[in-house]
Subunit: 469 residues, 2 copies
């Protein structure tokens, strides 16, 4: 009666725990007695505000949100809110009314206007609020786009980077689309190689699969790589040559932690090149300094998409009525933070500076320490929230894993969890070259020295237990 | 490059306005100068807290929500919150932590436990939190279930009532499933007739379509009909006979406004009958006395669904990470309202009593007045938020509509909008027998006397303009 599983297998389980990808470990915490740690550290998921991690919410966002929830607070607790918070909440209330009502299915017009202003300030090119869709997180937008791009009777494919955030393979599986993997180059800091993409396109075409779109994650997940503009221009040119829709996952655009690197949007590249390729770019309030995963907020912007397709998107999203209002308010606060001179500015600046600095410092320290370990190499990540170290596993370790019916990196990750309480995701969840093993972990933990110490110590013990010949 | 439209056509446009089904008219308000009204009344959509309508939020819900947004308010404005509100927020915070973090993909365990308690109190039979999924509104759950029920290579069908809330046809269109309509009986207060369903099943099978599930909306949308238990038992038996999954849309279960009617859940019926049919029942915070559409919250409960299917559902929902946290908190407050003796109880009771009474009074008054009009007959609706009057349209009116390229009821609805500012949905959006015409309107407006007076006056003028022979 039920359709066969179409969701991607997102789990690796079999230990005391389940290692879950991009999901809360909440509720799967074990009874810890008798284990060599007293706390599970959820490094498996980019969930900055999770219990036990250390990224607090931005006060401005939460103050505006609280005032939108309970309007009477303006009078009941006038001293609790800076004037600019009250002004923002009043402006939003004037536009939206009760946040208990459905909004426009594409998102509150005023907030889409705010997003358009943010984009044009960022890129130096105008943006049209009518081409912007507010969503319940970037994943909802990706799912919509992929569902619209997959068609019949020819098999449709979407080019996805390897390693990749498995949202893409999972969504393609749900919509019966075919993932067309292209490998990123670990030896070149996980750079994107155009020839590899072209080879994947040709290979697909030879099999009768029609490549419809190219997914680029910039900054990368799980790699943290930040694209050079020259590479971005080549990608746009390639989309033109092969008639591909460019799906630009830019949710980590605010997470850049190396001064020599900066983020350039594909929108800007496309406009600079005067290109007419179809581009959909995704952003989210779940990452960056916002870290508001639980609100479910984000947007996508359509560039060079025909109006009839946009009208169709609108019909599709209207079936789900509207994105969550508190997610939309989160988007407004992300794209319109306090400005210099506003009463909330100093606190906002100090909170966001702290988050940026902590992420940069932790990333650097973790990379440095991990690279000192024999059998571990880790590309330094200039962006996003993750590291994706490569681990050498001995023949003995691989054999032990196979005997246990596990992928060797999953076997490693489960042993790490059992020994330290640190939960990471094995590379087999993101894809990797055959015979290579990785894991992804976030750079969000507090107490980085103790934390990375545990990783190092575990690897050494694991290597002793399963030595090379 | 783009797939052909798969979203259901949800629009009727062509007037100065678009009449939009279950969508906010926000942002499509016209420049009203020169029109014979000064306000658009959005009676097209069950959106109780929309601007211009009169259902305010429940204070308890918003106080808990505000305290979850901005925890410091507990200290900054201690007097602003009753003790039970603070206790609830503390309890939720203890469980959830920051609402800026992803929760468990199936929903916060504590809140699923609250839902299970609510269900078992309601039905007298236990409910299992592991079989409950919190969702971003009922529509997200319906979409998931339909996507899982549609399979190949045989065409899959889902039985849907006519008239029906078009979520079902739209979702089936998106997932390439076939709607199998069965007509409700207007002459018997929109009752559900089993023989009609059986005929639809046989007709589908004869065409090689496999009926997979039966959708029942109880209380009905747009009809407001409330099923008798005897009919519910027959429906369960029919699902057993024809191996159908029963999808019970029970989002209006708290909207009963006739003392002689009461809501019985299909869960209770299934348990009483000791039936093993597969049942998925949907509930939402968007309707009832909650009316919190913008939060996007709801749940579904699985009964007699195999554990491997539930595991698959969990995988599917985990791709979208988690339902919005403020939607989940809305669910908690709906299923665990203040109890007698709690500091918030008196206010909660008075607010919810007012909402129930207003809806009952308005429904009664509107039905009474509409039925006085020649050419209008309206079944009195004991449940939900709507009326679905039948309108007689003269041959001249039908001809004028056809000439304008419109369905006659859409032509009527647009003329109504132009004349009065009242926005309703033509029956052709919900389905009706050939040659019959209806419209759906909500019973949510303030100033019912003036409002229904406008409807009556308009119908009389329209009938004069397009007289019978």
């Amino acid at each position: 009666m039920w359709r066969e599983s179409r969701g991607e297998q997102c789990f690796v389980s079999g230990s005391r725990f389940a290692i879950v990808l991009e999901m809360n470990t909440e509720g799967i915490e074990p009874i810890l007695s008798g284990l060599p740690f007293n706390q599970v550290i959820s490094s498996n998921i980019g969930n900055p505000q999770q219990k036990g991690l250390d990224q607090p919410p931005i006060t401005f966002v939460r103050q505006v949100a609280a005032l939108m929830e309970y309007r009477e607070l303006k009078h009941l607790a006038p001293g609790a809110f800076p004037k600019d918070v009250i002004a923002r909440a009043d402006e939003l209330y004037e536009e939206i009314g009760s946040i208990g009502a459905y909004s426009h299915s594409q998102g509150v017009p005023l907030i889409r206007k705010s997003v358009a202003d943010f984009i044009s300030d960022r890129d130096g090119y105008p943006a049209d609020p009518n081409h912007i869709f507010l969503t319940g997180g970037a994943s909802a937008g990706v799912s919509l786009l992929i569902s619209m791009l997959i068609s019949e009777p020819m098999k449709s494919g979407v080019l996805i980077p390897i390693p990749q955030y498995p949202l893409y393979t999972a969504t393609l599986a749900q919509h019966s689309g075919e993932p067309l993997p292209y490998h990123l180059d670990e030896s070149d800091e996980w750079n994107t190689d155009l020839a590899t993409i072209e080879a994947a396109i040709k290979e697909a075409r030879n099999r009768g699969v029609v490549p419809k779109a190219l997914v680029v994650i910039n900054p990368g997940n799980p790699t943290g790589a930040v694209l050079e503009e020259e590479t971005q221009r080549k990608i746009v040119q390639l989309c033109k040559t092969y008639d591909l829709v460019l799906l630009a996952d830019e949710v980590y655009q605010a997470n850049i932690h190396r001064p020599t690197k900066h983020f350039t949007s594909f929108k800007r590249i496309v406009r600079e090149m005067k290109s007419d390729i179809a581009l959909v770019s995704f952003h989210s309030i779940s990452k960056g300094v916002s870290g508001e995963c639980g609100r479910r907020g984000g947007y996508f912007e359509c560039t060079n998409i025909p109006e009839d397709v946009i009208a169709m998107m609108y019909k599709m999203v209207s079936v789900g009525l509207c994105p969550p209002l508190q997610g939309q308010i989160g988007v407004d606060c992300m794209v319109r933070p306090p400005k210099i001179g506003d009463p909330s500015y100093a606190l906002w600046k100090s909170e966001t500076d702290t988050i940026h600095a902590a992420l940069a410092q932790r990333t650097h320290q973790m990379v440095t320490e991990l690279n000192k370990v024999e059998g571990v190499t880790c590309v330094d990540s200039p962006g996003a929230l993750y590291l994706y170290p490569k681990i050498e596993l001995s023949k003995k370790a691989v054999e032990a894993a196979r005997k246990a019916g596990k992928e060797p990196d999953a076997f490693y990750a489960l042993a790490l969890l059992d020994a330290t309480g640190i939960c990471v995701v094995p590379g087999s969840g993101f894809g990797q070259k055959e015979g290579e093993w990785h894991y992804r972990l976030t750079c969000l933990c507090p107490g980085v020295e103790e934390y990375v110490g545990k990783l190092v110590k575990f690897h050494e013990e694991f290597s002793k237990k399963y030595p090379k010949e």
